[in-house]
């Protein structure tokens, strides 16, 4: 395992210290809790927005703490959901009395831990609600299973729910718009190389020189299918096809596009993928309102990418365009 770290067991703490050291006027760290909040929380008269999950997805989630997005982010160990007591700490730190909204990715662990924290917070008189993001179309949604995972589309939920809260919306209104995003956002990912969680020290899987994994998440797990490595255009086509199958789009629809790198993908490759995604959308007559290309939701040093499409209406467009100023996302 080659990493620029000091000790596998200290990566999360040291990373957060380094983050807060970089943005001392915007962020602060709740000591010993791995919770990063805006410097001025709770923001008066605003629904507090929190998110979080395992670490290893940087800049998610602490990089999205700031004006127009999150009030706090809770960091678990690498790829491990944070615990209820940490999450409770974040809820308490951001509650201005107007309630707290949690953006949770749909993983068994995350959902359970956030729910337990919400129960504890409610016992302390804090109103809490949540949305569960499940944008990954790699696995069909089904009531018999865990359902779909939350991946890069989560960032668009942060952005839009954050903008809504910043305008003074109620907890119910924030929830409504967040659910609208979840209903209209779909993603699908692929990778050409695995990652190595620091505490494990071994790559999550091995891939041949000419193989790729399609339909994988952001935790170094294998995907739904292993295939021969394809060209960027073929990959873009396959990922968007999967999305269209799940969420049909028609000529005249407008979308936001996110081409997300998994950590070790050169930006060059992300733009080559975007070129094709953009062509595909144009050919279908689908309007591209805005495009985001970069590392938004990573999986340590995995090489690969995901494509996210969010179908927009006027409300979503306005909220997407609203001011945001966080370390990793500015508008």
């Amino acid at each position: 395992m080659k990493k620029i770290i000091n000790h596998p067991e200290r990566v999360v703490t040291e990373m957060l210290e380094g983050l807060v050291a970089a943005y001392p006027n915007q962020l602060k760290l709740i000591d010993g809790r791995a919770v990063v909040t805006r410097k001025n929380v709770p923001v008066a008269n605003k629904v507090g927005i929190i998110s979080g999950g395992g670490s290893g997805h940087e800049p998610a989630h602490a990089g999205y703490v700031g004006q127009g997005m999150l009030d706090a982010a809770v960091a678990g160990e690498v790829f491990t959901s944070p615990t209820p007591d940490q999450i409770l700490e974040a809820i308490k730190a951001v509650d201005s009395g107007k309630g707290v909204f949690m953006v949770v990715k749909n993983y068994t662990g995350d959902v359970m831990n956030f729910d337990m924290a919400a129960e504890l917070a409610e016992m302390e008189g804090i109103q809490v609600d949540k949305v569960v993001v499940n944008d990954d179309v790699a696995v069909e949604d089904s009531t018999f299973t865990t359902g779909r995972r939350g991946i890069a589309g989560t960032i668009l939920v942060h952005k839009i729910a954050g903008a809504k809260a910043e305008m003074g919306a109620t907890l119910a209104d924030v929830k409504a718009v967040a659910e609208k995003v979840v209903k209209n956002v779909r993603s699908m990912g692929m990778a050409i190389s695995p990652c190595t969680p620091p505490a494990v020290g071994k790559p999550s899987f091995t891939l041949g020189e000419n193989e790729m994994e399609i339909g994988l998440g952001i935790h170094g797990e294998p995907g739904t299918e292993r295939k021969p490595l394809a060209t960027a255009d073929e990959i873009a086509t396959e990922l968007t096809d999967h999305i269209f199958k799940d969420m049909p789009l028609s000529s005249g629809d407008e979308v936001a596009v996110m081409i997300n790198g998994l950590g070790a993908t050169p930006e060059m490759e992300l733009f080559i993928v975007n070129r094709k995604v953009n062509q595909i959308l144009k050919e279908k007559g689908i309007g591209v309102y805005e495009t985001f290309v970069g590392n938004f939701m990573t999986s340590l040093e995995m090489a690969g990418c995901s494509v996210t499409l969010l179908k927009l209406d006027d409300e979503l467009k306005d909220l997407l365009a609203a001011h945001a100023n966080t370390p990793a996302f500015k508008k």
Binding site: G54, G76, E77, V78, F79, T80, S81, P82, T83, P84, D85, Y107, T108, G109, M112, N113, M116, A138, V139, F144, T145, T146, R149, P197, A199, V200, K202, S204, F205, L216, G217, H219, G220, E221, P222, G223, T224
Partner: protein, 207 residues
């Protein structure tokens, strides 16, 4: 044979040792069909359990199990933290105020733990989760009095191994669909360790 506070502590010590020793194996299993942290999670959690227990005196096994639950809940994270936390909490609640736990007490405790797990995780038998060990073990306990702890261990082991052929429907392994078949469920292995060390502790006779 009964589970005293002392024995409960010995159980947790044995379980911790087992987990630390097989930490890498548990993580490897989780890398195959999950995110590779199960060994790390359990090892971190049970290390903290040991720290907690070493400082404390308990009047009843229930008090001890409750502390185990609280530590796991706040130190493990992921899916296994709340799940094991819930399981131990339910066992503590089911055995409240009892100084020693009989086999019947333990059977009831496991039954309550399963109810807690099902409620938290919404999984069922054959979903390829730790429940696939808990449920057969409980079944065995209910059917056999007195319990043959050797047989109980064998039941747990067989149940654990049988998860290999299941298609996962819950937890991260479910995202792999067909590819989850052919791999043992990591949480079932840690649950097997739990019953294996319980059996060993109970077999050692009264101190």
């Amino acid at each position: 044979m009964e589970l005293t506070v002392k024995k409960a502590k010995l159980w947790m010590e044995a379980l911790n040792e087992k987990i630390q020793k097989h930490k890498e194996y548990l993580s490897e299993l989780d890398q195959a069909i999950g995110d590779g942290d199960h060994g790390v999670n359990m090892a971190r959690g049970f290390q903290e359990v040991m720290n907690k227990l070493s400082d404390a005196d308990y009047a009843t096994p229930s008090d001890l199990l409750k502390d185990v639950a609280m530590v796991l809940m706040s130190k493990v994270g992921g899916a296994s933290g709340p799940l094991y936390g819930t399981a131990f909490l339910k066992m503590a609640m089911a055995t409240k105020n009892k100084e020693k736990l009989t086999e019947e007490d333990l059977t009831l405790a496991v039954e309550e733990a399963i109810k807690g797990l099902e409620q938290r995780g919404k999984a069922q038998l054959k979903d390829k989760t730790m429940l696939d060990v808990w449920i057969p073990v409980h079944h065995y306990m209910k059917q056999n009095s007195p319990i043959d702890w050797g047989n109980l261990e064998a039941t747990a082991k067989g149940a654990m191994e049988a998860t290999k052929e299941l298609l996962a429907l819950k937890g991260r392994a479910a995202y792999l669909k067909e590819r989850s078949v052919g791999h043992i469920d990591p949480g079932s292995v840690s649950s097997y360790y739990l019953f294996q060390t319980l059996a060993e502790t109970m077999k050692e006779g009264d101190e």
